[in-house]
Structure formats: structure tokens, C-alpha cells
């Protein structure tokens, strides 16, 4: 037994699922469709390379991403989702099942009919009733007839048979997160008056027929059903939690072999899996399921990213299997690191929901934390030993610099990181300190970099600012220089404003180098200005945000934009949009909006949070001082965490 397995004995204990022995209590959940495949549902080499990584994660059960079961594509939710409505798809599914089983895992294929969120190539989606969309990127509804419902059940059963013929050990159907099964179960979307609607017994009929149909088609193979413990749609007339559990009861009585407890619909007016939800928040739903159905296996993992928490949950009878996906997108080695007691090296999922944001822009999913995700098929993204070992100096220890340093060191290069502050992390450290959602997620990135850099023997030279003079002092000591020094706030852009010398750099306040007063005006309603402004307001300051654009949060990801907008409202922070500051005095600032209206806001601190200016001068100064010179991250173009990590990795992997 490996040292980490001894520390997490419940997680790594073997299990039994039907006639299948399972090597541990970890189920890879089909949390995301990759969107890596062809428009007509065929699996690509890119997908197969990705599945190979998934197969190697070390999970005891692996669920392959959802395939739509109908030839029309009414069940298709994503442009490049895989299909399983025909035998022509079998050869690629056979490869996937074989890859999973070669690693000693049980192979499950999910069948996903997206219902209300489907019909992506069509002009409509199918639903039990005519309930319009609340998210306008989905298609208008078409009510399913009884005959269409029967066809749909048959298509699921045929798809299940096909999965088993491809070599999968079992199948899964899913209601998560508001797909067809959920649409029938929920009072929100099921307003039928026939035998499929009305009472909870009738609303559950489609699910029971689905379970029955699949069980009859594949009697020797287990079936998993993913069901909401909470829809989070009850405020809109959807099911209460009690009703959700009544429906689970129906599934259990119908003979389903495992219940996967999930939370929330895509359109739910509440948060379910974002970074603002604390880990473990939804465990009570799984605990309730396990208590209600002691003889049915329960799997769960919503907002439960830590193997140690999962181990304790299994010990405490909260679930039987830990269902995990996004943390394994961020670090496919997480289970192995846990088994080897190397959890400090795990690259945690920080809940940025970049994966889902991309899917809802019809793009393939990627991961903020894992730059190789989606590029597994490309050798250029593989960390391979460097042909020529080099001495590399990296200037800046933010995410771009550390990612580059670590990737290069893994390849055998000798790396030194120079950081002018007394700690690593760059502006990520300041972001983490001011984040209202969950600072520990962001701090975990820095801790990860520290732990891995230490193990790789990367030299960290703190309190060391690199400039031309310093470069001359280390001439010929390094082969490569990587400028990852970020992008400071550009004070020059405000040099024409009367009183500009009173401006305080928002990053200085975010880092704790300068204390802001009690009345603060923040110039710039983007990521930095909002994060600092919200933090100051939360701690009692009066804050006003001035933004020259029409809207705030212009540089924030869609999956987090709503959160900032709601914090601004909840904290009652006035936002002066389409406005600019024209004068700064000891008493406050004068603001002019796009109509020419002038106003005064009292302030004892005026923070400048935008724009940022990349440190191109370092690149110019060092050009003739070093053999190889590169720029990455904000030092090239100011953007965000994801781009910093991606660029750091992409350079580190090819130096």
C-alpha cells in the first residue's frame, strides 16, 4: 500500500459494483462534454488522446462523456458532442472502452439527451411542455408527443445496448443539469396533463420507463442515474428538495444500480458549483440520499474537490463513491499524487468555470489551471526532456513566470526565478487577498508553485529586482531570459489630469503596501478595480467606482461577471459608468460623464486600477544582453490568470 493510500484508506479501499470489482472509491464523472469531436458526432483523435489521459487518472470507475442517442440531434447540446445513435460510431467507442479497461477501471458510457438544452443544430429543442427558455442561447421548445416519448425511450435503450457492445461495463443517464430527464421530473418544465405530467408519480414516469427500457436492454450491466438532490429551480416553480428525493426513491424502486446525486440546473438563479460555493456545501444532499437508500450505491462530488474531504465523507457514510471531474481536468495526476502522499503538488481546480464558459460559447473546453488539456494529441504540448540543457532566468514569479519555470525545470533546464518582492505569486497574491469568493483557491495556486519549485530545485531569488544594471552583472551566466514581470498600472495615462500626483496605485493597496482611507474612489471598473473596491467596501470603506466604458467588468469571464455585478449591488457600490475623472483634490474627485454632466465625489483615497501597461522596456533593454529573450503573460499583453498560465507553459515546454 502506498503512503497516501494509508492516509486515505476509505477512498482507496476496493469496492463492488454489481458483478464488477472496483479498485478504489473514485468515479470519474462525465461533468463536461469536451466539444473536441466532429459536427456530426464522430469521435476524433483529439478526443481519443484526451480519453487516454482520463483513463490514466487512476479512478476505479470512469464515465465517458455524454453521447446523444437520437439521429435528429434533438438530444445534442453541444456543437461537437459525440453521438451513439448508430452502429457506425461503435469502432471509436470500442477504443475508448478498451483504453479505460486497460487501466483496470470500470467503463461507463453516459447517454445524454439534453432536452431543453438540446437541438443545438436544429431550430428547436424538445421538452415535455411549452416552457420558454430563460437563457437565450438555447432553442425554443417543441412539446414531445407520447409517440416521441416512446421513441426517445427506445433510442436510449438502443444506445445502451450499443455501449455494452462497444465494451462498456455499464451505462449512465443524466438529468444533470437540466437535461431531458430533469425536464420531465421537474414541475418547472413539466406541465403536461397526460400520464407524463401533473403528479410526481406521473412526472417520474418517463424516468421509470427510461430505467426500465435500459435495464431490459442491458440486464447484465449496471445502470447509473444522475439525479438532482436540489434543482435550485424551486423559486421558479420547480421541484423542492423533498420532491427531488421522492423521484430518487422512484429510481431506486425501479432497480437503478447507482444514484449520482447532483445539484442545480444551468439556468438556476442560484450558484451551485462556482468558486463562491464553499467545498462540502452540498454534502447534506448526498448524506440524505445515502440514509434514504442504504442498499443502493450513491456517488457524489459537486463542489467537493479535495481527496481528504472525500475520504472522510466515505468514512462517515455520506456517499460510497467520490464522483470527481473538474479537479481531474485541472490535474489528471491528482489521484496518483494523493496515493503517493504528494497532495501538496496537486494543481487544484479553482472553480473559475472556464471549462463551462467556453462550452457556452460553443468552443472546446479548456482549463485555466491545466494548459495541456485539449492538446493531448499534440506532441508540442508534451513535457519531454530538453535536447540541450540551458540555464534560464525568469523575471517575475507570478503565474506566467512560475508556470514557465516549473515546466522548463521538469524538462531538465536549470532555472532561477528573480522576484522583486519578498514572496512569490506576483499580483495573484494580491488578487487572492482581496477576493470575496474563496481566497484559498487562489492562494492554493501559489502554494502549489512553491511546493513544486522546491521539489524541482528551482532557485527562487526574492527581493531581487532585475534591471539593465543587474543584467550586466550576470552577463553570460544564463542562456535564456524570460520576462514575466507583469503589467503595472499606467499612471502616465492620467498625467494630464489635474491632481494626478494624488493617485494611488490600486495594486499597492491590494498588496497591502498602502492603506486606503475610508472614502475611496476607484478609477477603472475592471477586474482589478472591482476586486479591490469590493474588498474595501466589505471592510467598511465608502467606495465609488468610475469607469469610462458603458459597462463595468469588461475584462471578466462570463462565468464570474455576474458575481461581480451582484457583489457591486449587494455591497451598494455606486458605479459611475461612461465617466472619467477630470480633477483630483484633497477633498475628492470631479467626474464628467459622456453627456458632459459634471459631479463631485468626496474621497480621501483615489485608486488608479486601469489601464495597465506591459513592461516592454525590459524586453528592449535586454535584447542585446542575452542569447534567448522571451516575454510571456501580462508583460506582453495585460490579460488574466488563464493566459498567464497558458503562455508560461507553452514557452516552458519548448525552450
Amino acid at each position: 500500500m502506498k503512503p497516501g493510500e494509508q492516509k486515505l484508506p476509505y477512498l482507496f479501499q476496493p469496492g463492488q459494483f454489481g458483478r464488477f470489482k472496483i479498485k478504489n472509491r473514485i468515479k470519474y464523472g462525465a461533468c463536461c462534454v469536451s466539444n473536441y469531436n466532429t459536427r456530426d458526432g464522430a469521435i476524433t483523435e483529439r478526443e481519443l488522446a484526451r480519453v487516454k489521459v482520463i483513463a490514466n487518472t487512476g479512478c476505479g470507475i470512469i464515465t465517458n462523456q455524454g453521447a446523444y442517442p437520437d439521429p435528429l440531434g434533438e438530444g445534442k447540446a453541444y456543437f461537437r458532442q459525440v453521438a451513439i445513435y448508430d452502429d457506425k460510431f461503435l469502432p471509436q467507442f470500442e477504443k475508448i472502452a478498451a483504453m479505460i479497461k486497460e487501466q483496470g477501471a470500470m467503463a461507463i458510457q453516459q447517454i445524454l439527451h439534453a432536452g431543453r438544452y438540446g437541438g443545438i443544430d436544429l431550430g428547436y429543442c424538445v421538452q415535455p411542455s411549452d416552457v420558454p427558455q430563460t437563457l437565450p442561447h438555447f432553442r425554443p421548445p417543441k412539446i414531445m408527443t407520447r409517440e416521441e416519448i416512446r421513441d426517445c425511450v427506445r433510442q436510449h435503450a438502443d444506445a445502451a445496448k450499443r455501449c455494452i457492445r462497444a465494451g462498456f461495463d455499464g451505462t449512465e443517464v443524466t438529468s444533470f443539469m437540466g437535461y431531458l430527464l430533469a425536464n420531465f421530473n421537474s414541475r418547472f418544465t413539466n406541465q403536461r396533463t397526460d400520464e407524463y405530467g401533473g403528479s410526481i408519480e406521473n412526472r417520474g414516469r418517463f424516468m421509470r420507463e427510461l430505467i426500465d427500457g435500459i435495464k431490459q436492454a442491458t440486464p447484465d450491466n449496471p445502470l447509473i442515474v444522475r439525479l438532482n438532490g436540489a434543482e435550485l429551480m424551486d423559486k421558479w416553480g420547480g421541484n423542492t428538495e423533498d420532491e427531488c428525493f421522492e423521484l430518487m426513491q422512484q429510481a431506486v424502486e425501479c432497480g437503478v444500480d447507482m444514484i449520482s446525486v447532483t445539484v442545480g440546473w444551468q439556468e438556476a438563479p442560484e450558484s451551485s458549483i462556482g468558486r463562491d460555493i464553499p467545498p462540502g456545501y452540498w454534502n447534506y444532499l448526498s448524506e440524505r440520499a445515502k440514509k434514504m437508500f442504504p442498499n443502493t450505491l450513491v456517488t457524489f462530488g459537486n463542489r467537493l474537490p479535495d481527496p481528504r474531504m472525500a475520504n472522510d465523507c466515505i468514512r462517515d457514510g455520506i456517499f460510497d463513491y467520490w464522483e470527481v471531474c473538474r479537479p481531474l481536468l485541472a490535474d489528471p495526476e491528482m489521484i496518483h499524487k494523493a496515493a503517493e502522499d504528494r497532495l501538496d503538488e496537486v494543481r487544484r481546480c479553482v472553480g473559475s468555470l472556464n471549462c463551462l464558459s467556453r462550452l457556452f460559447r460553443d468552443l472546446p473546453y479548456t482549463c485555466t489551471m491545466n494548459p495541456a488539456l485539449g492538446h493531448e494529441v499534440e506532441p508540442e504540448y508534451h513535457v519531454t526532456p530538453a535536447t540541450v540543457k540551458k540555464k534560464i532566468m525568469v523575471i517575475g514569479s507570478g503565474p506566467a513566470g512560475m508556470e514557465c519555470a516549473i515546466t522548463a525545470a521538469k524538462r531538465g533546464h536549470e532555472v532561477t526565478v528573480f522576484e522583486k518582492a519578498d514572496r512569490i505569486g506576483g499580483n495573484l497574491y494580491a488578487y487572492a487577498n482581496n477576493d470575496l469568493a474563496r481566497p484559498d483557491d487562489l492562494h492554493s495556486i501559489i502554494r502549489h508553485y512553491e511546493a513544486v519549485a522546491r521539489k524541482l530545485g528551482i532557485e527562487l531569488r526574492l527581493n531581487t529586482e532585475v534591471h539593465a544594471k543587474f543584467m550586466r552583472s550576470v552577463l553570460h551566466q544564463y542562456d535564456v531570459c524570460v520576462v514575466a514581470a507583469g503589467a503595472p498600472i499606467d499612471r502616465e495615462a492620467f498625467a494630464h489630469v489635474e491632481g494626478h500626483e494624488r493617485l494611488v496605485d490600486a495594486l499597492d493597496v491590494a498588496h497591502g503596501r498602502i492603506q486606503a482611507g475610508e472614502r475611496v474612489v476607484v478609477i477603472g471598473g475592471g477586474k482589478i478595480g472591482l476586486t479591490v473596491g469590493e474588498f474595501l467596501r466589505k471592510n467598511g470603506a465608502e467606495v465609488t467606482i468610475v469607469e469610462q466604458e458603458k459597462r463595468i467588468a469588461g475584462d471578466i469571464k462570463p462565468s464570474f461577471k455576474w458575481r461581480h455585478a451582484s457583489w457591486v449591488e449587494e455591497l451598494d457600490i455606486p458605479c459611475r459608468t461612461s465617466s472619467r475623472v477630470t480633477r483630483i483634490t484633497e477633498e475628492g474627485v470631479t467626474i464628467v460623464n459622456d453627456k458632459g454632466d459634471r459631479s463631485f465625489v468626496a474621497a480621501d483615497t483615489v485608486l488608479l486600477a486601469s489601464p495597465r501597461k506591459p513592461l516592454h522596456e525590459l524586453l528592449h533593454e535586454f535584447e542585446w544582453m542575452i542569447d534567448e529573450l522571451h516575454g510571456i503573460g501580462d508583460a506582453v499583453v495585460p490579460r488574466g490568470l488563464e493566459q498567464a498560465i497558458q503562455e508560461g507553459f507553452r514557452l516552458g515546454v519548448r525552450i
Binding site: 416552457v131 430563460t134 421558479w236 416553480g237 442545480g264 438563479p269 450558484s271 451551485s272 462565468s559 455576474w562
Partner: protein, 135 residues
């Protein structure tokens, strides 16, 4: 429980007139409906015409034939708050209702169509940023 009463049509028209910046970009023919969720018998509609926003008070014919682009479906309590706010902070009340779940904002057209019809300002005022997928 409050009885579901829709706002007075004249007050509803005045509420739109008070916020011209939200409506002036709408294409002629754009329609925004309001119904009571518990008893959707009637529908109050802001209708964008060449002369500005008109209001129609008509029987609610069901989602499919409602002919609106957006449909606000408010529970009784939210409806009471909307009626109370109709001459004041109406859009703040609507946004608050949408965020809390007391008002469901149905989108009967796709986002690209809504944007093309000039709904950007109105969607922003209704707090559309709160309605992201998979949070």
C-alpha cells in the same frame, strides 16, 4: 397571500417613458410581456412602435403564441412590489425579482436576435449578467 394584480396600463406606459434610454434602441415591433405566474390570465405588453412605447393589456394566450420577445412572469409578492415601484424604481424592482427568483424572465428569442433588435440596454437593466449558465 397577495392577490395577483397587474400594474395599471397607463402607469406601465409611463414607466417605460421614464426610462427612454432602455427602450429607444428597440426595433419597432419589439414586445415585452408581464404576467402573473400563479394566474396568467392577462398579459401587459410594452410594444415598441414608431411613436415610442405603447401598452397593450390583453388575454394571455400561452407562451407559444404570446408574440413577445421577453416575458416576465412574476409571483404574487413580486407583482405587488412591481405595482408599488411602477412610478419609481421599477427596473431595480424587476432586477431584484429576477435575481431572487420571484420573477422568471423568459427569453422567447435567441440572444443574437435580441441584441439585433436593440435589447442590450434593457437586458442590462434587468440584470442579465446574473443569468449566466452553470454557476
Amino acid at each position: 397571500m397577495n392577490v395577483a394584480v397587474l400594474p395599471d396600463p397607463l402607469a406601465w406606459r409611463a414607466a417605460a417613458a421614464n426610462r427612454p434610454e432602455l427602450f429607444q434602441t428597440l426595433d419597432a415591433g419589439s414586445r415585452i410581456g408581464l404576467i402573473a405566474r400563479t394566474s396568467p390570465a392577462r398579459m401587459l405588453v410594452w410594444h415598441a412602435g414608431d411613436e415610442g412605447i405603447d401598452v397593450q393589456d390583453a388575454p394571455f394566450p400561452g407562451f407559444a403564441t404570446s408574440g413577445v420577445d421577453l416575458l416576465l412572469s412574476a409571483d404574487n409578492e413580486a407583482l405587488a412590489e412591481i405595482v408599488a415601484a411602477v412610478q419609481g424604481q421599477l427596473f431595480e424592482a424587476l432586477r431584484c425579482g429576477i435575481r431572487s427568483g420571484a420573477v422568471v424572465c423568459y427569453m422567447l428569442r435567441r440572444r443574437c436576435d435580441l441584441e439585433a433588435k436593440g435589447y442590450d440596454e434593457l437586458l442590462e437593466a434587468l440584470g442579465f449578467a446574473f443569468m449566466g449558465a452553470c454557476r
